[in-house]
Symmetry: C2
Subunit: 460 residues, 2 copies
């Protein structure tokens, strides 16, 4: 006998949680499609040579390789031929470069699949997890206007997910770079180091960070450090405040090209986000957002839950210069954003925010007597044809047990077909949500349930 | 520069095909849920020790193992710790045994995920492919009635997939075993060998198979071979014919327990399939269906497309005695059926049966002038709120080019917002499916499109 168990670092769910998870996937997909993104799926296994174009790096150390039994026996030197994807961005680059001549640009794609990383074993760290990505890829060029569509899509997703108030934070790498240049911190590597220190503000406090930046290692002037700390603390409180802040930044001192472009891009993105109907309470200018400094070159995004800031960013991304330089000479600029759904789901569950989930099964047709089964099956067929997810009790047990099963499983309607009901061609329905019971003609059953479902659940 | 390409044996799709594939997945899932099956997903990677409980066998030779970079370096002897699932049945066994005390039995689950097999490279053979499975698992016992629910579910799936007429073939391993026993072929291994010869009827012809079975190796009596060949050729032509055939089989000669039980089970399954509203043209008794002889013990199923018999079975399964004997002492009998969707999709596409696919995008809002963009975005927001998947042209190009894009992408409605439309608060809509154009007030746009969508497409 072997102990049945999963490997460490995977999240396997029981049906009620799987239903909740699937509903989140459905909401995300529906909204991605609502905004005109097209579906793509790529294989889990890619050729190692193709997947691992950049050598070294944390990600590559975490890669899983795949080998069939035959390959295992032969494998002597070198990397295995196949590797599992560790994100959806490299497969997107490979996909767009491979199918370049069959795609229409700007290419808007969504992809919702699992990715694999050999993470250190740790609570809340997953080795297999869902990413839900949208990207728009241009050929040669891509207007900054597209940068506004992603926050609008994300706003629609999180509004429908209904997991509480959230804020999409926007910044622009050009604006940051231009600001640092103005302050005499022109070297990008130095900027990165300064930002890394700034990132420790929460942990170390302002005084300690200031000391580091003015100290021997960095040697920045005190007034420069003041302005840097003031800059990264900027959060807009409204749309008008965001626009005003950008205006002031440009008016305040010397304006270099990078600063001017960054501010203009951010302003255009913010205006279009508003034009797309995103309420101003859901987005903000946040000049501390930097994201991967070697990758993003323009707009950057993070998203936080207002009431659960400790969860951190639940959806991040930004604008990049060239998606697939390893695979094609074509210049493919893009902008993308990603939801790490497995981790988000796990965090929501830990925080007790999932709530009670109704089953995918909407109706349970009970069975009082084996002789009734053909009748039960016929009623179930009618319900299914009317669009109701219906389960039939195939083996008669005590009726109380059948009700208990429905209640525990989160099935809302229980249909009872006793001798009286069958003789009168009626059914008795118990609504477990409303704790209500009624009798209805068999022909009116589906339409009655539809009305019940459409009514709000508040009891009077 | 690295050539962007996928490994051999995977099916990667361009967006129009991916949309068609996704619609098939959606139809399958919707119908699985309609019949009360609950969703389960399991990790791609399982512990090798847990996954590979049976040693040897074709399947195990095809297994992919996974190793992170760190593990690769250490791996010296023995199998890698992780392996990719090669089907959804072993993971189901592990899942049910692991979560036995948290599940309600009979446990009805569906699972639609990719599986991995190191198949020989061959056209139409995939190393990564979707399986869409439903199973009902009982604890200690499971009524044969559940065996009727699977064909009813499969009937609903393939009816809605609308890929042509199909037949679900049913047989019962007990009936077969009993029949062979009656004919003096009592050894199960000999039965298996005889069935393997019988399986060659199409290829070798009746005379050659008869010669083998009566010849030295098998040494069966000529009248026995006649009755075996007659038996496996039995296909019912109607429900009544199927029941009549079972009656005759039982009446015809000595009836052993296995034959009697098998016939009774098949009869009950057929009667319930009918009671669930499956038309008798969609199912048949087919006494040649055997399936995996070492695994299935009762009802067995195969499904074929009536007009494309050469595609073979597109959905198969059956009843098994005990799902998870490797993992638990509990007896868990079950019945299941599986659609190999990747292969089916590929075959339908090869046969030209996919047809032209409409985009997931339903409306394209064009842009005549950059100054119109906020207006375009507002109209798009209204459409999205009304439930339409809407794409906005974010960068103005020639209007003809925008129409061409919609047409090639399979987007049905194109919304035009020129100066006149904006001034009059109207929109011009071109319906590319109907080749029709009309103007409508902006406030009526969504309701008008809804009416258009609901109308049949036949042009008068």
């Amino acid at each position: 006998m072997i102990k049945p168990r999963t490997p460490a670092g995977v999240l396997e769910l029981l049906p009620p949680d799987q239903i909740a998870f699937q509903r989140m996937l459905d909401v995300i997909r529906r909204n991605f499609e609502r905004f005109g993104f097209l579906p793509v799926e790529t294989p889990v296994m890619e050729l190692s040579e193709v997947l691992l174009t950049k050598s070294g790096g944390e990600t590559e150390r975490q890669v899983y390789f795949a080998q069939s039994t035959g390959a295992l026996e032969k494998a002597a030197d070198g990397l295995p031929e196949l590797a599992l994807r560790f994100d959806l961005t490299v497969p997107l680059a490979r996909y767009v470069a491979e199918h370049e001549h069959d795609l229409a640009f700007p290419f808007r794609r969504y992809q919702m699949q699992r990715v694999y990383r050999g993470e250190r074993q740790q609570r809340g760290r997953f080795r297999e997890f869902y990413q839900c990505d949208i990207d728009v890829i241009g050929k040669d060029a891509l207007s900054v206007r597209f940068d506004a569509e992603l926050p609008a899509t994300i706003h629609a997703v999180f509004s429908e997910l209904a997991i509480g108030a959230f804020t999409i934070h926007l910044n622009n790498r050009k604006l940051m770079r231009g600001f640092f240049e103005r302050e005499g911190v022109a070297d990008p590597e130095l900027q990165a180091l300064v930002l890394r220190e700034v990132d420790k503000l929460d942990k170390r406090g302002t005084a300690a960070v200031r000391e580091t930046l003015t100290g021997e290692g960095f040697g920045l002037r005190s007034d420069v450090v003041d302005r840097i700390l003031a800059f990264v603390e900027i959060r807009s409180t409204s749309h008008a405040d965001a626009i005003g802040t950008l205006d002031r930044l440009v008016a305040e001192g010397d304006v270099n090209a990078s600063l001017a472009t960054g501010a203009a891009e951010l302003r255009e993105v913010l205006e279009l986000v508003r034009a797309m109907g995103v309420p101003e309470s859901s987005y903000a200018l946040n000049l501390s957002i930097a994201r991967g400094l070697d990758y993003y070159t323009g707009t950057v995004y993070e998203t936080t839950l207002d009431d659960y800031p400790q969860i951190g960013s639940i959806c991040s991304g930004g604008r990049y210069e060239n998606l697939a330089s390893h695979y094609t000479k074509s210049k493919l600029p893009g902008v993308g954003i990603s939801i790490g759904l497995t981790r988000l789901f796990w965090q929501l569950r830990e925080a007790g925010l999932l709530g009670r989930v109704e089953s995918t099964v909407q109706v349970l047709v009970t069975q009082m007597d084996a002789a009734h089964l053909p009748h039960c099956l016929a009623v179930a067929s009618e319900l299914r044809h009317a669009g109701f997810n219906t389960e039939v009790v195939m083996e008669a047990s005590k009726i109380a047990k059948q009700f208990r099963y429905a209640d525990r499983s989160g099935i809302r309607f229980v249909v009872v077909l006793g001798d009286d009901e069958i003789a009168g061609n009626t059914v008795t329905v118990k609504d477990l949500r409303r704790e209500d019971q009624f009798q209805v003609g068999r022909a009116e059953l589906a339409s009655t349930l539809r009305v019940e479902l459409a009514q709000p659940l508040v009891r009077t």
